[in-house]
Symmetry: D2
Subunit: 136 residues, 4 copies
């Protein structure tokens, strides 16, 4: 299992008229947190894409417990619970400054060979980095 | 059961570097379609909020089958399958111009009394409008 | 001179905690209105881009007189006042439902040859369509 | 004169199909940088708003020299060149990692008394903090 924490501050542009961080923006927050999680593994999502492997989202499920507000610093915990194959699943949880959990999401993405426009196995270097967290 | 169709055109600002409509924007598309669905029922979401009833999202689950692209006109089918109570569940499906289905989502929202900041029953006029679609 | 009007409804996701349509979203509204203006001329921005001519923004100046609110239907008036050359300038003005003007913007874009990554003249078919509005 | 620097990383959701950071997002980047600039002065924009003073944007002028790309870390230099009165003017400049300047903006905002819904002088504590940078 691999776990990473990233912080995101709610921008004014991301609030809505209820005063909440608009729920639709968590997709972007979780993506920022996924990319930072990969960076901590020494993996650059940008580079992987430049080398011809895309990672579009197949499935996104999120439950909201509490809202976040303007200027709040959110901690997003990103977790890879199983060794990825053609698909990779992230669990993303958001916590407020007081430690209370705001929501929990699962995001499933698929590795896609850009040239062939078809699902593919993750790059070898990608698997090598991640595999070390799943040895027993 | 109540069903409604709304069209949304993908904006340049909503595309990403893959050339897709960024998946995070469907939250906003579905919301536009929900509000238009209510409008067809003679219900104004704006008015309901002005009268003190909010409708935040509790749960959002979406599966993506195919991406949409810049300038595509998407048809979003919004469906209320059960009579709402404190919660209301919408099924949202997006279709491309060629009729193919791009994704399917479920969105669960909760009626909230703004003053008391607590879940509440839907307004009476709201239930009256919707109830007519669930008589047998 | 060429003038076109397009309507845009303010989405919930576009409001901010002041209850206003967040001012940063007008860039996207004006872009929607520009693309619709071109469509009325028989020009597809998507097609032009597919044929290798991009149109990035060089300059964007906007003055805000009044805010817009959730669910408001805004009328955006888009005007091309001079015959374009390598650059094209649009004047965009937003009006509320009561006819009052909310803001006024100027947007200057540049035609760019995608292959060469250099500024270029507008495509011939583009100029032919627009030129008819500038004959005297 | 008061100057501050803030860093922002371009999110995937902020890219467009040209591969650029969509130009409309700079409004949000500049706002993040303004709020961080105020924070360095010991001023919380959130608190000021909670105390009844809003700061909507009156004017926004931006010239783009070069685009930014996905995952780029942008440095935004925010400058207050004159002592604010009812209006406050920020100059915002964005720089790439190689030091090259990507754009330059001016943003004029107005202090508004939320209760009266009218322009007002900045709060006394706000002026005190800023004034120290304009003594000679």
């Amino acid at each position: 299992m691999f776990t990473s924490e990233t912080q995101v501050r709610v921008r004014y542009s991301e609030t809505d008229k209820m005063g909440y961080a608009y729920y639709g923006h968590y997709a972007a927050y979780f993506e920022v947190a996924r990319v930072e999680a990969l960076r901590k593994l020494g993996l650059s999502y940008r580079e992987m894409e430049d080398k011809g492997v895309l990672l579009p989202v197949l499935e996104y499920n999120v439950k909201f417990y509490k809202p976040a507000f303007y200027d709040d610093v959110l901690t997003i915990k990103t977790c890879i619970e199983e060794l990825p194959s053609v698909r990779i699943r992230f669990v993303s949880e958001t916590f407020a400054e007081d430690g209370s959990q705001l929501n929990r999401a699962e995001v499933v993405l698929v590795f896609v060979d850009k040239e062939k426009n078809k699902p593919c196995q993750p790059p070898v270097y990608f698997m090598e980095r991640i595999a070390s967290f799943f040895k027993n």
